[in-house]
């Protein structure tokens, strides 16, 4: 069988096999919209806060009003004391407590001489880290602003603390949660869908004793799966990102250059695993449970340089890891090829290594069969 015949027959096999259409095509279309949906709001909204205001001072009232006006915090009510407020948190009626002491004004008027326990206290359920961060940051900004206004009322020469440091997010300029999660996890989705499809294709061919013989036919199969992968990436990085307005197209040439390497590495790995297992269902049972760990090992939530060195090295063996650090740099950060040279080299190495392994296995086993 020639390379071209194997290439064409593989594409036809994918198009006419329901499980392969489902894994290689339908899943990609589905996940492009299913996965980002719970992050569409981009930022934490309406976190419930209960206020204990002992002094009802002008500063306390201005803080409460500012919090009520914010998008991320919703003041659900006022409690008479901390115990009542804690009840609200433990009943899950509130995510946090803002306690404002009787002599709250001292934090603006005599900050160096405030008594222990005076001022403001935020109690927040930090088991939900993102919620806690949203509440704490909103409160910090509100307090800094309110205290500055109060301080200026006393002495106009006092500097505005809010003006001392300016903070600007880069690339994902709204610091949106979906725009952070989706471009990173896209690479895992693209890897796992192509990996499952390639593995199932090779496994079922071997189970049916219908594996293509020879190196050229094996290369044809690999090329067809690589093409499927490239098309899936084009759909994600182009259409899906565009329709969801994800930051994109920072370095299109870099993206286009890296796409065949990623698709080639993943499809070769899938073909090798599937061929080794020789049973499509077994391949899926083995590969599906790796999905959640591989998302996190790619280093988007827990940075790779914070992992033990052996684990970080192991993580780079999953093509999704260099893919995440390649495509996010190219697509979202607008990195040059030189700035993405490390993951690009790793991806090329994986494509070559997995390609050689897969072709050796497929061609040799086919010859034996």
């Amino acid at each position: 069988m020639t390379l071209r015949e194997a290439f064409e027959r593989t594409l036809i096999e994918i198009a006419t096999t329901r499980e392969l259409v489902s894994l290689a095509i339908a899943s990609v279309l589905f996940y492009a919209f299913y996965y980002p949906a719970p992050y569409a709001q981009q930022a934490a909204e309406g976190m419930n806060l209960v206020v204990v205001d002992q002094g009802h001072s002008p500063l306390g009232r201005s803080i409460t009003r500012a919090l009520e006006a914010s998008r991320s915090v919703h003041v659900v009510g006022e409690a008479v004391d901390l115990a009542a407020a804690e009840d609200a948190v433990l009943d899950r009626r509130a995510d946090g407590i803002l306690f404002l002491s009787r002599d709250l004004d001292a934090i603006a008027t005599h900050p160096a001489a405030i008594r222990p326990g005076a001022g403001a206290m935020l109690v927040v359920n930090a088991a939900y880290a993102v919620r806690a961060e949203a509440i704490a940051l909103t409160l910090a900004d509100t307090l800094v602003d309110a205290i500055a206004q109060r301080g200026k009322a006393i002495d106009r020469r006092l500097p505005d603390p809010a003006g001392l440091v300016r903070v600007q997010p880069l690339f994902n300029t709204t610091a949106g949660y979906r725009d952070y999660i989706f471009p990173a996890v896209s690479n895992i989705i693209l890897q796992q869908t192509l990996l499952f499809a390639s593995a199932r294709l090779a496994a079922e061919r071997r189970r049916r004793r219908a594996a293509f013989g020879g190196l050229r036919a094996s290369l044809g199969t690999w090329a067809a799966m690589t093409l499927i992968g490239i098309l899936a990436q084009s759909f994600f990085f182009g259409f899906a990102y565009w329709i969801q307005d994800v930051p994109r197209a920072g370095n299109i040439a870099g993206v286009v250059m890296a796409m065949p390497l990623f698709a080639g590495a993943v499809s070769a790995l899938g073909l090798a695993i599937g061929h080794a297992l020789g049973d499509g269902d077994a391949a899926l049972k083995l590969l599906i449970p790796t999905s959640v760990p591989l998302v996190f090992l790619a280093g988007f939530a827990w940075p790779l340089d914070q992992m033990p060195p052996w684990l970080a090295t192991l993580a780079w063996a999953s093509p999704a890891t260099p893919a995440m650090h390649l495509f996010v740099r190219f697509n979202q950060m607008g990195a040059s090829v030189a700035e993405a040279a490390g993951p690009l080299a790793v991806m090329a190495l994986l494509a070559a290594a997995y390609g050689m392994i897969a072709m050796t296995m497929l061609a040799r086993k086919a010859a034996v069969a």
């Binding site: 894994l23 719970p38 403001a120 088991a127 952070y180 760990p293 040059s336």
Partner: protein, 381 residues
């Protein structure tokens, strides 16, 4: 086992249990799914978060001033356990290259004349594309810089007498429930273990039931099996037990090795994990019974259990998401387990715990019960 044999419920369940154990002994892959696979996957996740918190985040400083205050800021940043100064450079372009190549998480630009009246503010540019690490570095950098600049600013404004003293927000305290050290490792650990076992044991449970199919129907199995529903319960019991055991082992290891503590009851969490295990296996049963094909059932399991963490609202609260996403979130078992676990962590009152436990119980009762009924009914087909 044919009809006519002993048919007491316990005996039927025991027969199913023995049949599944026999199958697991013969099928190495399925045995691996219950034993080696969770050990390896949970072990990798444990090793990943073993450090507990993200530390020494690399930042680059662009110092346009070079004066005493700028040097003090650099020292403060470098002394922060959360940060490490990867480079000090005079131009922003070099710093941006470091961020784009992921050698730095943030850039601190110290302007000329910092601390003097009328000087421009210090600028922090942080990597928001990898937001978790970038925002951690940004927050630490902001705290360090604000502290130094706020201390110096009143002096330069000629108002030493009302210096903030202890920083920009004296008299402001933060108490963190459930995660007093704001550990990213603890937070991720509470989510990762349940998410991993939820997917893994949905797959293993589908793998246990699929071999009973013959010609896309359970009719053959149901006809020749005494009390097929109870036999199925017995066959699925090892998967429930394994799921619960690995989940409990993960939580215990997380608390002991990571030195974290539940304010509430860890026994409650163990109970919640049992409900999660039952829900996982119940949903898996319904999937394989309704699809009657392993590949399709596995694909559906990935949608329901594989992406469940995203829909659980544990990272970004789901309340601002589209209505359909909120409804789907509420329909997924992991959402209720995570709520239960987080509530138990802070010692929540019994009512919210009971609500989530009750919701979790619906999955084995409704999904699992429907699956068992459909299998039993197929005998009449």
């Amino acid at each position: 086992m044919t009809r006519g044999a002993a048919s007491a419920p316990a005996a039927a369940i025991a027969r199913g249990w023995r049949a599944e154990c026999t199958r697991l002994r013969r099928s190495r892959l399925d045995l691996i799914l219950l034993t080696l696979m969770p050990a390896v996957l949970l072990g990798l996740m444990g090793a990943m978060i073993a450090r507990g918190s993200v530390r020494d985040g690399p930042v680059v400083i662009v110092d346009h001033d070079g004066g005493a205050l700028a040097r003090a800021i650099r020292r403060t940043v470098d002394a922060s356990p959360m940060l490490s100064v990867a480079a000090v450079t005079p131009d922003v372009a070099t710093a941006m290259t470091m961020v784009r190549s992921e050698r730095a998480l943030a850039i601190l630009v110290i302007p000329r004349g910092i601390g003097l009246a009328g000087s421009p503010p210090a600028e922090i540019l942080y990597e928001a594309q990898f937001l978790a690490a970038g925002s951690t570095a940004q927050a630490a950098l902001r705290a360090a810089v604000t502290l130094r600049v706020a201390e110096a600013a009143p002096r330069s404004a000629g108002v030493d007498g009302i210096s903030p003293g202890r920083g920009p927000l004296p008299g402001v305290r933060l108490t963190l429930l459930g995660n007093p050290t704001a550990s990213l490792g603890w937070y991720l650990g509470l989510l990762l273990g349940p998410a991993v076992i939820h997917l893994l044991f949905a797959v293993s449970a589908i793998g246990a039931v699929a071999p009973l199919l013959a010609g896309k129907t359970f009719a053959g199995y149901a006809r020749v099996t005494v009390r097929p529903s109870l036999d199925l319960v017995g066959r699925l019991a090892p998967h429930v037990l394994a799921c619960w055991s690995w989940g409990t082992a993960w939580i215990v290891a997380l608390t002991l090795l990571g030195d974290y503590r539940f304010v509430g009851s860890i026994w409650a969490v163990a109970g919640g994990l049992l409900l999660l295990a039952l829900a996982t296996v119940g949903v898996a049963l319904l999937l394989i019974v309704t699809t009657r094909e392993m590949a399709t059932a596995l694909s559906a399991a990935v949608i329901i259990t594989g992406s469940a963490l995203a829909y659980s609202g544990a990272s970004l609260p789901i309340n601002g998401a589209p209505r359909l996403a909120q409804v789907w979130s509420a329909a997924l078992p992991l959402t209720h387990y995570i709520r239960f676990e987080m509530d138990a962590l802070i010692g929540a009152h019994p009512l919210p715990l009971s609500v989530e436990a009750g919701a979790l119980l619906l999955y084995p009762l409704i999904a699992g019960g429907l699956g068992l009924w459909l299998v039993a009914r197929s005998a009449r087909a």
